[in-house]
Symmetry: C2
């Protein structure tokens, strides 16, 4: 009963809400979905009628619990598909996003179940993003921090990388930075440029053992302390 488009709006609002905090601006949604702000306003009104979002005019919008459930369903589809494409169809880590976007609205419950089973009910997708469980329980905050928050000498383990930008993804993949990779911060230069030494994880070519990352990239990499041994279970760091 809910159109693909409505699901896309809910997914977008969920994502923006998770990234930037609570009331989400019309213009942010518009930019995310590549439509104009008036289009967003009118869509948001329809979502409000269906009680999927709450909204205060001129202020912003946030998901109701029902809206969040719908968003989690779409996200579950998306991330299961990413994992499946990576693991069973040989897609590279950096290629799965677009295909999953195409398919996420069109799979049945049955398909979802069988894919989850084929994967052994994974908890994270190849980017390290958590996969909502079958009951669509809200995802609790994790204990990760942006790489850009860390200083020289610290050792961390990559938990997730953003799947938003294809080019960035290929760049990181090239550089050998993936979920599970252990990094030591060797330098933080002006403007936030971070240089890291890559240790373990996928074998990186010798000349890539050190890597400088622009602030924007470092900010989108979420890491956990490298001392603890509670690293995310090796989860789809394959493919190239």
């Amino acid at each position: 009963m809910l159109s693909d488009v409505m699901e896309d709006y809910l997914k977008a609002i969920y994502t923006l809400q998770t990234e930037d905090g609570d009331p989400v601006a019309t213009s942010a949604i518009a930019e995310y979905l590549d439509v104009t702000p008036p289009t967003v306003t009118s869509m948001v009104e329809k979502l409000e009628e269906r009680e999927l979002v709450e909204r205060e005019k001129y202020k912003g919008v946030e998901l109701t619990p029902e809206g969040e459930t719908v968003a989690l369903e779409v996200l579950r589809h998306h991330r299961l598909l990413e994992a499946y494409l990576n693991e069973h169809l040989d897609y590279a880590w950096s290629e799965v996003h677009d295909e999953a976007d195409r398919l996420e609205h069109h799979i049945s419950e049955e398909f979802e179940r069988r894919v989850a089973e084929a994967l052994g009910d994974p908890e994270v997708d190849p980017h390290g993003d958590p996969i909502p469980n079958a009951d669509l329980a809200p995802i609790e905050d994790d204990d990760t921090t942006p790489l850009s928050d860390h200083g020289e000498g610290e050792t961390v383990v990559v938990a997730r990388v953003s799947d938003r930008d294809d080019e960035e993804l290929r760049y990181l993949s090239e550089a050998g930075v993936a979920p599970g990779t252990r990094l030591e911060v060797v330098d933080v230069a002006p403007f936030g440029m971070v240089t890291v030494r890559i240790r373990g994880g996928e074998a990186a070519p010798d000349d890539r053992r050190e890597q400088s990352l622009p602030e924007s990239v470092a900010a989108s990499i979420r890491v956990r302390s490298g001392d603890s041994e509670t690293a995310t279970p090796e989860s789809g760091v394959g493919g190239a």
Copy 2:
């Protein structure tokens, strides 16, 4: 550039053209797609503008070569998906159609390639329908005949069963009639009711070795002579 809906019309026209011969009636398309005849008329006009069909008003419509190519592309997606779901995701033979219908418009060229590769470039889907090749060359007429054309004592091998009706499909699956099954016609009763003895193929329960099929069902089963050993390569007769 072509909408999903347009692709559906082209696929429908292709199918009807293949089943019932050349100029396809507006009402036939309407019934197939479950829309009203005026809707078909207006859609057909748009397809004509794009030179995907040729049409003579009040007469009927047929595909141009370009239109046929589009239909074959969709059909290739559909049948590869059916085969993949059956072989790699454990779907029963009789369950794959709807899921493939949902997905066929939404997969990329890349996905098509990888699925075809994972399957080893199969030539038929689990129903026995031929899968258009990657170049989308027109499918030439095969040498099959409807089971209902055969008389008592003849032995035949099932080449394809129609994937149009879910209930029929489950019935045949139950009965042990699938592509590759060898049948002996033991009786043809009034009104075309055909009784067959099932030999070989999937093991049928003992009490199901003989099976009576209504004329409409017998007409939708395409068979080859059972004497020749040119049986279709064992192709997805799995699942239940």
